[in-house]
Amino acid sequence: MLLKVWILAGNTFKEAIRRRFLYIFLFAAVAIILASHFFNFLAPLEESKITVDMGLASILFFGALIAIFSCAELIPREIERQTIATVLSKPVKRFEFVLGKFFGGLLIIFLNFVLMSVVFLVLVYFKDRAISLNLIKALVLTFWELAVLSSIAICLSTLSTTTAFIATVTFSIYIIGHLTDYFIHIAQQAGNLFISVFVGVIYTVLPNFNNFNLRDKVAEGFFIPNFEIAKVLLYGLIYILVMLGLSYLFFQDKEF
């Protein structure tokens, strides 16, 4: 099974590399990371703070765009051009196909992520003459957030075949996922049992991307125990497994 997943993932990755459109996001991210160097002269903040904030933000934002736009179209594209029929007529299980697409998408995200991170870390090193372990932890959390986002896009693509719809919904979940903590304020203010239960369900089902905002604290130099970071990574891993599990259920009886 793993071999076939790897073959499919490799093929997916190869296509993305040869298509090149994702390079636009990569270049934009690198441009902003480099430009952040010049903001420091405008305000009396610690010099590297803006570089770190904007660097991490660019990697997250453009990484999210890459994750959404690359993963949202992986399966619908195969269905649209009917290459899926030729693949599934071979000894490939449907779930192997989905996993292959997910890991292929993840490889694409990882490559772009590494390139952006290298530029970012070089710039930080240029300013501070050191790279803190905290910053590496922040980057790991960022990548994990992107992995969760890509699993959501893949899951949605097993339900719908319209790329624009999938991308829009995934992006909306990305935004809402950063707001879920504020739902608790709403529930507290409402004081109504039904609303509290409803909010509780939404809070659990939707991904809580605020968990990955530990990245902000790490970048500020706030010490986060590795155990707490491990909990967040575990949260992300379980959410990915849930998304892949749902993908299996949705895709198993899909007709082409």
Binding site: E46, I175, I184, T204, E228, Y235, G245, L249
Partner: protein, 233 residues
């Protein structure tokens, strides 16, 4: 006899169980990081969108640039709400609290016309520092900021000394803070206490010639004043 469960049913049950586990894990994570404060940015601010995207640090920076602009233009009142938002977005960045409190206690109080308003802003500034301490209890800076404000703005040397002493608990505090305690004691009029403080300071940082020189000089000044009979009871 054994029960064969349909794989789809067992997968669906597993997913439900995983959601419960996610809920438990979320509670654990939340107990460490806490809930974010309520967003108080005005709608229409670009920073809102940035913050919503999880880019709180950048949102705070953007608002800070705007707040800085208002400060340059002496638009103190427009600046305040921005600082409120900035500290909600990044409560663990101490400099934001420090700058905000400073603007309130020093710049706004200076620009105020009535004494009542001046004192109000000074107290608000101190309140801001204290709120910052609640998020960052292990950093010396805000304790120092409160002490400095009591010392130089409010001339309340007792409070200043208390807060200076809290600031020096933290290992990374600058050495001059200890010397400020001694200065405050002198300004308070307690010359003997000031002398004792300078003597104590002589034993601190023996390898710092600059510190030793200042301590020596000030000790001499205090001792001369005591000899001249300038000690108040």
């Amino acid at each position: 006899m054994f029960l064969r469960i349909n794989p789809r049913v067992s997968l669906s049950l597993s997913i439900i169980l995983l959601f419960f586990f996610l809920s438990f894990l979320q509670f654990q994570i939340l107990s460490f990081r806490g809930l974010p404060g309520r967003l108080v940015i005005k709608p229409g601010e670009f920073a809102v969108l940035v913050a919503l995207g999880g880019l709180r640090g950048v949102a705070a920076d953007l608002l800070y640039l705007k707040a800085d602009e208002f400060w340059q233009e002496k638009k103190w009142k427009e600046m305040l709400p921005l600082y409120r938002a900035i500290t909600v977005l990044q409560p663990h960045y101490v400099d934001f609290w420090s700058n905000a409190g400073f603007h309130l206690a020093w710049n706004l109080s200076f620009a105020s016309e009535t004494q009542q308003e001046k004192e109000k802003y000074m107290q608000e500034g101190i309140g801001f520092f204290k709120e910052g301490i609640s998020y960052n209890p292990d950093v010396y800076k805000l304790y120092f900021d409160i002490a400095f404000t009591y010392d130089h703005k409010l001339k309340n040397y007792d409070e200043a000394i208390n807060w200076y002493r809290l600031a020096v608990q933290f290992p990374e505090h600058p050495t001059y803070i200890e010397r400020l305690i001694a200065h405050a004691l002198k300004k308070k009029g307690d010359l003997e206490a000031a002398r004792q403080e300078w003597l104590k300071l002589q034993k601190l940082y023996p390898d710092d010639p600059y510190h030793q020189e200042i301590v020596g000089r000030n000790l001499k000044i205090v001792e001369e004043e005591i000899q001249k009979g300038g000690q108040k009871k």
